[in-house]
Subunit: 411 residues, 4 copies
């Protein structure tokens, strides 16, 4: 980005050291007006200090945007994603990935409201988050200018960053002077840790890495039993109490945390081409995932369920790679949402020392037919003799193959 | 099957009451010679009594086949399937499904050896197992005659079955006189329970249902740490000790059992069109699944892994539905096996009260590059500036879409 | 079906010899009231004779249903399917498959209107049509009784059928006395021929097989140029003239016929497990298929198009197998329809002796950007340097693989 | 690339003006030794002049590599791809895409043989070919340096290019002085034209664009009938005469050309994010595609065929995007090749004015069973009554759904 080109920039601002340095660096490099945007996505930090620090760094009050986006986050991003049972690479509940499009969306809204011609973010040039932010920016405002300081500046070591902060009178809290032992991202769905002491995938993560959950070892020795109520694919209550999306997820997080649920230590493949290791905590989301699958197990038709499952890896990849605001995500969502109309009912779970155990599911839309499945006399609900024709026609192509010399499906 | 048509039949014979009744029923109905085949697939029962009982029921010694198939079962069926990380409907490790093709294969081999023109099995007309047996029979010997007594006879109640047994001097152990509270299938990979007291999916399963695993609640309060060694996608050792496939799985089963690992209470969709509820215990398999995914996480290329993941649901469905000996399974296997050539190395795990926790993975074939991923100075291994072009071209279609009025990928 | 069980049956009645025999056979076998349903799906036969014949065979006037379903057929069945570019086994435009669910739907509606407890159709036990009819019946009315005479009766040879007709005073037109040389099905979308002289797949079909199209060899030596206008994925006009769905397809059929377009001689895989050979004529549909793909080529986002393409084989299989009224078809349709919102514009085509040649496409929603693609100076629309970063990050996993000894992506 | 860094570069050299300018530009900019590589892939140009021109431009004889790669091209690249029936975006036979990996592979082999540290190509920064070349280079030699002059230099207009050529005594043939009306790429599989006069997708291509095929309008009025023989998925003969891969494709090209077969005017989606319009001629490939599908139609099992079809779009995308030398392509190829073992036999075709018409197929491995499919009495090969059970169990989930209120599969 040529430095003369930018008039006004909206910065995704956390109030921390890094984005404070970015703020000053934008002012000094681009000589443009800076608007800060700080979102509460449930990361567990107060936002007041971010406002104070922005003021201290010379941002005009009318240029400071602070929004509580927790309900929107869960309702319009987390829940649609959970309808798909999305797991990236079979394991990861996409806690960081799903937050980026919402931040980007709000940032672009602010840019349009204040007439800014640029946006900036604090993600590095090695990670997925830069991709997620920038794909969303471009998809929502194709002519936006994007500043990614970590790809542009020369503050490439901690020492230089601290020096820059000192030169520009940016307050540095004592615990930020030293190198953090790993890097953290958090929101209402999850907390992730990566880098530094976690870089060797053979080394077990230190217990201090885990910040959102008690260790299964330390979790209480007693079982907690809960029910989760669903309507059309979304959780709407716990133990019979109706809750808003963010309140519900907050409560599930507390239940998960206490019971040591939702830790994941994973080596994953980044969109930018390298492998990385992350330690993720998704306490409430892990419970929700298990419960949602159980709810679907009695309310979804078999082929509806299998079709969803066959596209889940693609859907998860789309979100992981940052294509939330892309036609393919919308098409997949349309298909998934169509399937969820009947996913209504109640699931009962036991939570215990890292385990989320389904013990019951019921639904007004249940497709489970005791009459058909029973080992007892079924009053003619099912004619066992039909199975013979079913098998014989399913076998026909295999028999014809075997007759043609391809026994056992040999090719 | 017309009764005059059958000369000699090979029966999959467990030695239990049901297959003993079938044995006699075959003799009295078809008036044909019966050959019994009993396999040790690690179900945990001695086979001596099966031989004795067959003799007692009048089977000639040369018509009694008893085989220990445990090594073949794990090496040629369980391990290939685990290379695919196969989970049916996101959850089920396919423990029953994977045993059926091996039993069928051996049964057909015996039929050909003894010149039998028919085979018989003891699966009911409502379940998946009849399909799995019969598809395999037909695929391996397309002109085989198949007798499925449960679909043919009139012994449709427990009372009638017992009466028939008594009429035919079939010994009935005391505990078999009453109705079993649920039905069990077991082999070296897993144990399943279903039916009767498990039929209502809202009722939690009674603790007595679980036979292969200690409850997580009762499992010891200390962590067990192990390593599993892999070569080309298959586990070959535990804690550095090289083990044969069946020995290895037996040891993992013991470790899983002690630590309360591998229970699953699931409502699933049967191939014959109804939903059913099963309680599965796959102690060793659960550990193996987690370990194999971790091994792949550092040894598989991203797109190789995603391609596998995208086809896993199909592969699992193929096996669940009974198409092991079908061209599509062989094609999928060829693709999967191709990917496993590099899946060699060691995974370290903690086992604790139902949890299988990965704490480390290493491989001579690792694709994880600390040099590239590091938060530290990377000596030019990765040029962060490349990310800009990467993002801009990935965003181009989204920008063109937005310019054409489709902001955010709207359709 | 036990003969006493049926009170009133709705028969899909063509007025031809076969369904007339079925009509009488139903009366004499089930001794039930018969309601006839004859649909005009554009098969090109007048429906008056069907009414007369039904009366002659003793059907009460109020029990004779004759409906012109051509507009519904094209609008609600053909067009949704063409949005998907559905080709079964890469070739077949599904002309027979797509008609069956509509016939079934109307038949069930009539059954409910007249209080019938059963339906009957004239499809044989070897083909796909029985499956398509019956799956639709069951999906729409799960307790319906189904009579499939060809699977039940003993009129298994032509001679016996003629005898039965004569015994029951069913008039037989002279040309029906002999064996037809092949069997035909037709509707507004296509005509199919199969069986008898077509059974050997090495024999070329006789020219008399083709009834809907002139041979390319006989088609005129001059090119016909047309435009087709689309709105939201559906054709709405030809040469600028707005036409109703059935009128439009009728006109395309005429254009295709004259120009020798839309013949297909195919060996395909039936759902019931065998291969069969069919000769299909889909003159208008073939033009429509080519035009629709061309319309999408400038209006669909790349990933939207690829996602559709990747699911097309599944969608085509679902329809071929008879699962139009199934959740998976509805989910796929929701996904496809979502993508079609922008598929509006005009395609220009040349028709010539079997060829359908696209020569132009334009759209108010075009995503084709001359500014970006031009070989000329592009005023900075596209920065060629971005390609370097794009390639380098796409290559990173391949380079890491090669460094780990897997050159060229070797596994 | 910093100019001092390169010692010796292998240039993909056609002998034309553009790559001659690149040759000189490399010498003058990088001051490195240049090795030229010119491949005969059947593009239809003599290679002698390329050698002369390289000598004239000062390349040492031992640095001039000229290879006839036609047989390798067809045998190891074209044929494996045709086993998959690969069509990009439903239409394009990938003629350009499939040539790039072979050129790259040979270029890297030469680089290793001569100790070069860099490679260079003449593809622009807007197209797919740069991606295909460079991904292949990196996959085969991860530390290779890549020079892409069109992304680096300032010769951005035709005028500047000509000036540079004149300054450096590069001979310019008269017809190259002016702007070419479109850009051409050719090899044994196809010829493509794009750019300039073809840029408006509403304008029909001028007849002069087509260079490889006679227009269907001008093609002879008589039908040409041929047979193609296949072994294990690959064509091995025409009209009973066994031919080497390149000879066979050359002959099919002649047949296609004469009969006006293989033209395609397409708007496609490039990997770099924009749409472009190409006019492709694939005369022999089009015939081969139709014939291969017909050969598969009687030799492939249904599910084998459907599995292939479902992955074809992904396979085509992989090749289009340049990932021939990637693990996912090798995995897909393993799966596809597994299926081709039985694809042996003969297909008979009529070629006529743009049409490729299948009229017969036969195989020693045929799965087509006349005995089963016949409309005549089938001697019990198929029991029509089996269809009832087959349908009833396939319908069961739909019936259960309808009973639960979801008629017709409604969601």
């Amino acid at each position: 980005m040529r430095v003369k080109d930018v008039k006004k920039v909206v910065l995704a601002y956390s109030g921390g050291l890094d984005t404070s340095v970015i703020l000053k660096w934008l002012q000094s490099t681009y000589r443009c007006e800076v608007v800060t945007f700080t979102a509460d996505l449930g990361q567990g930090e107060e936002l007041g200090p971010a406002r104070d620090k922005a003021l201290l760094l010379g941002i005009k009050p009318e240029n400071i945007y602070i929004d509580d986006l927790r309900e929107t986050f869960v309702k319009d991003f987390v829940f649609p994603m959970f309808r798909a049972n999305a797991l990236y690479e079979g394991m990861y509940l996409l806690g960081t990935s799903i937050a980026r499009p919402l931040i980007s969306q709000r940032q672009i809204e602010i840019a349009e409201a204040v007439g800014a011609d640029a946006v900036a973010h604090g993600a590095t040039g090695k990670g997925n988050d830069q991709v997620r932010f920038e794909l969303s920016y471009y998809a929502l405002k194709p002519d936006i200018k994007i500043i990614a300081p970590w790809r542009e500046w020369d503050l490439t070591s901690r020492t230089r960053l601290i020096e820059f902060a000192e030169e520009h009178q940016i307050p540095i809290s004592k615990d930020k002077r030293g190198e953090a032992p790993f890097s953290v991202d958090a929101n209402l769905l999850h907390s992730s840790s990566e880098g530094k002491i976690l870089e060797d995938p053979w080394d077990a993560p230190d217990e201090m890495v885990w910040q959102r959950t008690i260790s299964p070892v330390d979790a209480p020795d007693k079982v907690t039993e809960i029910t989760i109520e669903f309507e059309r694919g979304d959780a709407v209550g716990i133990n019979g109490e109706r809750l808003s999306p963010a309140t519900l997820l907050t409560k599930l997080n507390a239940l998960g945390k206490e019971n040591g649920i939702g830790r994941l230590d994973l080596v994953e493949n980044r969109f930018v081409g390298m492998k990385s290791r992350g330690c993720y905590e998704t306490p409430g989301g892990t419970i929700l995932y298990v419960a949602h699958r159980a709810m679907e197990s009695i309310t979804l038709d078999r082929e509806a369920a299998h079709l969803k499952d066959s596209l889940m890896p693609r859907y998860a990849e789309v979100i992981y790679n940052g294509f939330w605001f892309a036609p393919e995500r919308r098409m997949l969502q349309a298909m998934i949402d169509e399937s969820q109309k009947s996913v209504t009912g109640t699931v009962r779970l036991k939570l215990y020392k890292g385990n989320t155990i389904v013990t019951g599911r019921q639904s007004p839309n249940s497709l489970y037919s005791m009459k058909h499945v029973t080992f007892e006399e079924d009053q003619g609900a099912y004619d066992q003799f039909d199975a013979q024709g079913f098998i014989k026609l399913n076998a026909l192509r295999l028999r014809l193959g075997a007759m043609a010399g391809r026994k056992g499906g040999a090719l």
